[in-house]
């Protein structure tokens, strides 16, 4: 049924690389698309089958199917993930999510038991809003709302403003340019919807429900997710493992792909036994 445009493989520009026995599904973060994984792929594609996609409205997806209401909260993105898994008949796979996609993966794992064997969360944050002293989200809600608004109001240059904040100073400027180009290639109207879903969702209450093992990869210096966030998640999530890397910024899969790939491979193999 629904053979036409809603086919998720077409809608979400799904690409499959490699032929390994284990399948890894990669979900990009806010303002990005599947090309952001290009640094990591060479380290993983020989031994794994890799499934890449773009959320509806981003990258090479069918942007006509972007619906403001569906994608106003994380649920819409969870649907994309579940739809793609259904179309490819995926089960028991490793889900690798960057930033907001870590939470999208966790929501999908809870909703569909058996879909994922385990989760890899790169620079995750269940909430960007402080609730001190217990939770150091990083921002007061007012500041966060304002940051989203300022970035938006500085359109059309919003990509130029946000990319250095997300990438973090001290990394190769070429990476900041790459991230900026990715942001700039995103329609500002759709970016606004995804930004609000990303930065204003609070998933802290679902962490204890995590049904599968999870590897949390935390950056030591990250404007968007301080080390306290990783520690908090590790404490709340059963079967979680926390690795804090001395990396800079919110995109360690771009800045330090070899180390991130090593940790993913090690984690995935440890789960096979």
């Amino acid at each position: 049924m629904s053979p036409t445009a809603s086919d998720p493989l077409y809608r979400n520009a799904v690409k499959v690389h490699g032929t390994g026995a284990r399948t890894l599904m990669f979900a990009h973060g806010f303002g990005c698309n599947q090309t952001m994984w290009r640094h990591l792929i060479p380290f993983l594609q020989d031994s794994n089958r890799l499934v890449l996609f773009d959320y509806t409205g981003f990258g090479a997806s069918d942007a006509d199917q972007f619906d403001r209401d569906r994608y106003a909260g994380l649920d819409g993105y969870v649907r994309d993930v579940i739809d793609i898994c259904g179309a490819l008949d995926l089960r028991d796979v490793t889900f690798v999510g960057h930033s907001v996609s870590s939470m999208i993966g966790l929501l999908a794992a809870i909703e569909r038991p058996g879909l994922f064997r385990n989760l890899v969360m790169i620079c995750p944050s269940p909430s960007f809003v402080n609730e001190l002293p217990e939770y150091p989200g990083g921002f007061e809600r007012e500041d966060l709302e304002e940051l989203i608004e300022l970035v938006d109001r500085n359109a059309p240059d919003w990509a130029t403003y946000l990319a250095p904040i997300v990438m973090g100073a001290g990394n190769d400027p070429a990476l900041t340019s790459e991230l900026r180009d990715s942001f700039a290639g995103t329609d500002p109207g759709r970016a606004r919807v995804f930004a609000r879903a990303t930065f204003l969702s609070d998933c802290r209450n679902i962490l204890p429900q995590s049904p599968v093992p999870a590897l949390l990869l935390q950056s030591l210096q990250d404007n968007l997710a301080a080390p306290g966030v990783g520690a908090y998640m590790h404490k709340k999530m059963p079967q979680s493992r926390l690795e804090t890397l001395d990396t800079i910024g919110h995109c360690m899969h771009m800045a330090s792909p070899a180390r991130v790939a090593d940790l993913i491979n090690g984690f995935v193999q440890s789960q096979e036994i």
Binding site: M1, S2, P3, T4, A5, D7, L9, D64, R68, A87, F139, E140, D143, L144, E146, L147, L150, V151, R153, N154, T160, Y161, P164, I165, A169, G189, N223
Partner: protein, 282 residues
């Protein structure tokens, strides 16, 4: 820090105290992030920064939207000249622009949907089908994958209209469209091609699978009533296998010729045409 009178009168800072203040302390935290991560690096690189929207935080904790221009002093490397102007009206204009943008986007989406949808059946229309089938053929030619284009025609549909009226005829088309749609699988695109004709674009199927598809659709059509008896369909299929250089028009012409042959051979059957070769299907 030196500041003009305006900073006191319009931005809410005490002119005497401003001398003790660092520029970063005049802004909100979110603005501070933009200044630290974007504005200062940009100043270091290009010595100027234009029309950045930020928010002033006054000593009384009022937030004032402003537009900031910054220039490195031409002679003093430690000195930055800031021009800060209130921007409430600019904000209102921006908001109005956003609202009209969203409205236009909604309308464009609605029009796009209308332009691509068949009103009676809710399926894609012929225009959208041709567009998407063309994309499939291009992909097929580049990647050596197979595409089959199918035209299906309801047998003796004129009899339904003449005997039971056009409303009954419309009911039959709606019911058939609904059933065909539900019988389609991933990679099988369905449209109303016109009148009592439907079309499919099948991606990645072998010849055997195309035959299986035809069988499935004949079965589905036979479940629709005319209303006095079950209907049947005839189908013609044009193949675009292994990246052959055939155009959309050529492949559709083959499907159309195959359909004509199926009708001539007694209807309720499928013929497949691959170049000159006519293959009897189901």
């Amino acid at each position: 820090m030196f500041a003009s009178h305006y900073v006191g009168t319009d931005l809410g800072f005490d002119a005497a105290q401003i001398i003790q203040t660092h520029i970063d302390d005049m802004f909100t935290r979110a603005s501070g992030l933009l200044i630290a991560e974007y504005l200062r690096p940009a100043l270091a690189q290009t010595r100027r920064c234009d029309e950045t929207v930020l928010t002033i935080l006054t000593p009384e904790r009022h937030r004032i939207p402003v537009v900031v221009n910054a220039r490195m002093h031409p002679r003093d490397e430690d000195c930055v000249c800031w021009t800060i102007l209130r921007a409430e009206k600019r904000h209102k204009l921006h908001d109005a622009l956003l609202r009209s943008h969203e409205l236009l986007e909604k309308r464009a989406n609605r029009l796009r949907k209308l332009a691509s949808t068949d009103e009676l059946t809710g399926l894609f229309n012929r225009r959208e089908f041709l567009k998407r089938a063309g994309e499939s053929l291009t992909f097929s030619a580049q990647n050596g994958t197979s595409v089959a284009l199918v035209i299906a025609d309801v047998d003796h549909f004129k009899r339904v209209n003449d005997t039971f009226g056009h409303d009954a005829g419309d009911d039959v088309l709606r019911e058939l469209a609904h059933r065909l749609r539900h019988a389609c699988r991933a990679g099988e695109l369905l449209a109303r091609y016109g009148g009592e004709e439907f079309s499919f674009c099948l991606e990645g199927l072998s010849l055997a699978a195309v035959r299986g598809f035809a069988q499935r659709m004949h079965q589905v059509a036979s479940e629709v009533r005319a209303p006095d008896k079950p209907i049947s369909i005839s189908m013609g299929i044009g193949l675009h296998f292994d990246g052959t250089g055939k155009t959309l028009t050529q492949t559709l012409k083959e499907a159309d010729d195959a359909l004509y042959a199926a009708k001539q051979a007694g209807r309720n059957r499928t013929f497949i045409l691959d170049g000159e070769k006519l293959i009897t299907g189901t």
